[in-house]
Symmetry: C2
Subunit: 641 residues, 2 copies
């Protein structure tokens, strides 16, 4: 008998001893980080509202109770009983019964009403029907991404259960080494922005954190091929952790599955969906530009199938010696500061991922409150000595001025924006400005994936700033549903119409003018001296966005009539940069993030910034807080213990 | 056709064009780093004394010319012709004809006379006989190690040719990467003494430098198992380079072959033989102590078979992007400072290995003169702030005083010493002291492998200090042949006799009192208050030597009558420490080594010393020379380019 089987047998005995004698335990299994307890008495289990919580704290495991398939009531009968328990206002849109596990997935417009206070309604559902309920939100704006992901996972349930069981057994394997070390290896994103990838390693466990591409570069990819990365094969990695969905962190996650990786990806639920959206688009763009994509959409589906979503604050065993906890990073939807607790008190490492320290309209500011962190890996996008950004209030004032001036000149406002994050922040700013009369009412066209990304935001309001979340719960106050927003879904024809039409604001991807519909908008708007291109986000070196921002007035453009040939396009439009909307903390925010940590880390690795930004920030943190700081290079390994 | 075959074909054309039309080239092949040129006209090739040198410099390759087997004269006929050419005084002891390659190995007491001025006699041999001569020295003191290695390599010639051809093709493979980096990974020997092991890596090439054990520790071995070491298999390493034969650098070299390594080991010829001697003894000791040896003697033979010996100063291609050069390190016989020139001007790294900066009786001081070195990996055994050692002159004075006092008291002098290095240094000091009458004449008993190690020293006088080398060439002045030296080859019986007999000096292994005959000598001499145990070498933490040195007067001893049981032995003998005979540079020597480098390296990694020694030295070099210095931990990776 394997040690894991032995462990499970002991757990089953322990549970049987802890619960009332009239409640049976027919089986216990690991599914990913959770311990699943099967019982012939699901209703009695549910009656004691505190029983599962007590068990979980006793066993120090996350516990799910499921009915033994032998005692399941028929779905038709269960449906009736469940619908009787759930208040009508909850807006249930779907019930999905899975007889293999006794789970029923309830999709509702107001999931909170299905859950009830402290989960009381969920327990009532089990007491009434004997099934184990799981609740998801009906997207307030229809999202093909969300429904595709949900349908795909439904169709792959069997496969996924096998994956989860295998991962569960891996997590709970016995520790093999009596050696101790904790190390970080840098595979990218050091002294540069892009291709984020790190390995956190102990004698037991190797975890890959992020695996992104580098905007503005074709051939600079993370150093996956070196020995300490995937040299011994992709399955030499035990787990992948994804901080957020931006492509400079996520683009090559699906590639791991092409390389044979077969383990879990830990991330938040919105990051999973956004990763699906963004990586599929990434493949699309590559194909359109005639480049060979490094993997195909099948690998994106593999990535989604292997994702184990975690919520902010959940402390989760992901290896015998590693506990992972995500915290809000304030950067984009689902973005996480990632905290690793290693070896039962031995060491703690936090990766900031990308962070925004102050609250924004969309998100609460990044969490920096951990019981312990000895080493912090900190982004440094705006870590340079002069990278202080305008307050968002001033930025909004400037943006409104730019819009008003352009409007008075009779021009249009073209804003390149990442589909995810800055676009939604802009939408909130613009919606309020129009509502309050600070700028004239005019259509706001959303092109590229902005609309779809917005739909995903409204599916996960728990991840948004608290007051915004509350507004979305009331459909009539959902700012994303304001009537001036128009989804460009009519292609070139619609763009031509808009270009020929009245004054308007256009938000379009890609955010660094590296392709996508913005290229078409530049052809329409670029030659108009009355219009304004307004940059509201970071433009990486080497991108067309950076070039236009820094004054290029002639750019190469593929001739639309004559496919292959490249023409030069003369830019006459005005260009403006409005700082302060960045999803990244500025220099002040980065220092504040560190200053307000308590206790402060002993060591900080400054990454995800160009050479001078990481070195400036490293030196500043050293002098200000007397900690050991580093500006690592790619392909280095730091040992902490 | 492979790129290597294509390369060889081009080389053959080039050679044909460079040489007179009447000299044929029938084949060219790589054998390890050498290019072997086969010709039907070996005699004509030899006639132009400068032709090979011109070709080598033109082609930037090391070139050996061999007769095409089809034109070989019969060995009996060749023998006569060869013996006619070689002066009788050369003392030829063996001729060994290899018809497969047209080589004749000439063993002679005076190899210089077989070689002639600038190789003139060698060329005469070829002109006369058509065979390609290779010369080795007849050991002045019979050495079973040397003859075993030579006989073994003779019996494995076919295998070895295959190995060399494979290695040669590997060295001259095409470069694959257009990326650039140079990194060092520390697998041991950082903030500690022992288990030396480093990886030098570029996008093309991974080189393991040293692979030793840690004296005083059973379970602290080099971190070979981590991904960036042998995680992807032992053949993920392209080459192994061994700085010297001490077990803290060499013990696990044969283990690599057990792990499946099949590539070359680059080292000097004496280091190859000493490694054979020391690792076989290491296995012996393990077996005697009832430990399971990590590999068996077959693996030692594999290591010897895969060794490509290089001489000091030879610049050798060992990978498409790496040239290796060894330089005298002054530490033990064959020890080398190891210089890597990477990527045709890109970067240069030197590993000091263990060094002695000043001349000693045995060796010239370490070489620190390189065209370029950007990073130096420097041993720090005596790098601590107070690790200044006595001058050797003062040390010799003290040693003589200790000997004279002990002699007057009627006691014996017991000196634990490494078989290799310190023992021979002691022999030279004692021989001279007796000859000059500074200490009384008495027998000097050599126990353990000291005799055999001394025989190996006399086989390779080119590696000894110049004046010593010259003395050895004249048999009557060879100090190692002085009559007071007695080889203990009669086991316990002889030891008992010596113990019961007159005053004497005993040199015995192991040098840190970790086993070997010294254990027996301690039982004989330890209880005698008139005798003196004199430490002349570094005693590592955790070793019994360190304990006795620091005052332990009772030590555990296996009871000889009753095998298993451990008795306590009361030590009554005096203990003395005479510094200054170390094979290691002291703090002053380490600083001098760096100070006199020109140009100085930009970065120094201080390794091979305990934590405070490496940190003291690192900080001193930083402040004195304003270079970037580090005291790495094990398991870190530093990137330089
Ligand atoms: Zn980001
Ligand atoms: Zn990023
Ligand atoms: Zn040594
Ligand atoms: Zn050493
Ligand atoms: Zn082999």
């Amino acid at each position: 008998m394997s040690t894991v089987d032995q462990q499970l047998e002991e757990l089953q005995d322990q549970i049987t001893n802890e619960i009332p004698p009239d409640i049976s335990v027919t089986d216990v299994k690991y599914e990913g980080p959770e311990l699943v307890v099967y019982t012939r008495d699901p209703k009695q289990f549910a009656q004691d509202g505190d029983l599962v919580r007590r068990l979980a704290s006793k066993l120090r495991k996350r516990i799910t109770v499921r009915p033994d398939p032998a005692v399941l009531s028929r779905p038709e009968k269960a449906r009736e009983r469940i619908m009787n328990v759930i208040p009508e206002d909850a807006g249930v849109t779907d019930l999905d019964f899975h007889e293999d596990t006794g789970e029923v997935v309830i999709e509702a417009e107001k999931p909170g009403m299905v859950i009830g206070r402290h989960g009381s309604t969920l327990r009532e559902i089990t007491e009434a029907a004997g099934w184990t309920p799981e609740v998801v939100r009906t997207p307030p704006i229809e999202s093909s991404t969300v429904s595709n992901v949900r349908n795909f996972l439904k169709s792959e349930r069997d496969d996924r259960r096998d994956i989860l069981e295998k991962v569960g057994r891996q997590i709970h394997r016995e520790e093999m080494s009596d050696d101790e070390y904790v190390r970080i290896t840098t595979l990218g994103c050091c002294r540069e922005v892009g291709r984020a990838a790190f390995i956190l390693s102990t004698p037991e466990t190797r975890i890959l954190i992020d695996c992104g591409d580098k905007p503005g570069s074709d051939d600079e990819v993370p150093y996956l091929q070196v020995q300490e990365a995937l040299g011994a094969g992709a399955n030499s990695i035990d787990a992948v952790v994804l901080t957020h969905a931006h492509l400079d962190h996520s683009a090559f996650i699906p590639l791991l599955f092409k390389y044979g990786y077969d383990g879990p990806i830990y991330t938040t639920e919105p990051t999973r969906d956004l990763m699906g959206l963004l990586t599929l688009d990434y493949l699309d763009v590559a194909a359109k530009e005639g480049r060979t994509p490094p993997y195909d959409s099948e690998m994106v589906r593999e990535a989604i199938k292997h994702t184990i979503p975690l919520e902010y604050g959940d402390v989760t065993d992901i290896a015998p010696d590693v506990k992972l906890t995500f915290h809000n990073a304030g950067h984009i939807l689902g973005s996480a500061v990632t905290h690793f607790h290693i070896g039962d008190g031995l060491y703690n490492v936090a990766f900031s991922g990308d962070i925004h320290y102050e609250d924004t309209r969309l998100f609460n500011g990044a969490v920096n409150d951990f019981p312990r962190v000895e080493t912090l890996v900190l982004e440094s996008t705006y870590g340079g000595r002069n990278d202080y950004q305008t307050d968002q209030e001033d930025s909004e004032r400037k943006l409104k001025r730019v819009i008003n001036e352009t409007y008075e000149n009779g021009g249009k406002i073209l804003i390149p924006a990442f589909a995810v994050g800055r676009s939604q922040e802009m939408m909130l700013v613009l919606e309020e400005a129009m509502r309050k009369g600070d700028i004239p009412e005019m259509p706001i066209h959303l092109d590229g994936m902005i609309w779809e990304a917005t739909a995903i935001h409204t599916t996960y309001p728990e991840y948004l700033r608290d007051d915004l979340r509350d507004r979305i719960f009331h459909e009539d106050e959902n700012p994303f549903l304001a009537p001036q927003f128009n989804h460009i879904d009519g292609g070139e024809e619609e763009r031509q119409e808009v270009a020929d039409g009245d004054q308007c604001i256009i938000l379009s991807t890609s955010g660094m003018v590296e392709g996508g519909p913005i290229m078409s908008w530049i052809q329409h708007i670029g030659p108009d001296p009355d219009s304004t291109m307004t940059f509201v986000g970071y433009q990486a070196q080497g991108t067309l966005g950076r070039r236009i921002q820094s004054g290029w007035d002639e750019i190469p453009m593929p001739d639309r009539q004559d496919g292959g040939r490249t023409e030069r396009l003369q830019l006459e439009m005005d260009t403006e940069t409005v700082d302060g909307f960045s999803g990244h903390a500025d220099r002040q925010g980065l220092e504040d993030f560190v200053r307000t940590m308590n206790p402060r880390p002993e060591k900080v690795l400054c990454v995800h910034g160009d050479e001078s930004s990481t070195q400036d920030l490293s030196s500043a943190l050293y002098h200000e807080f007397n900690m050991r700081t580093f500006a690592p290079k790619n392909l280095e390994t730091f040992r902490f213990i």
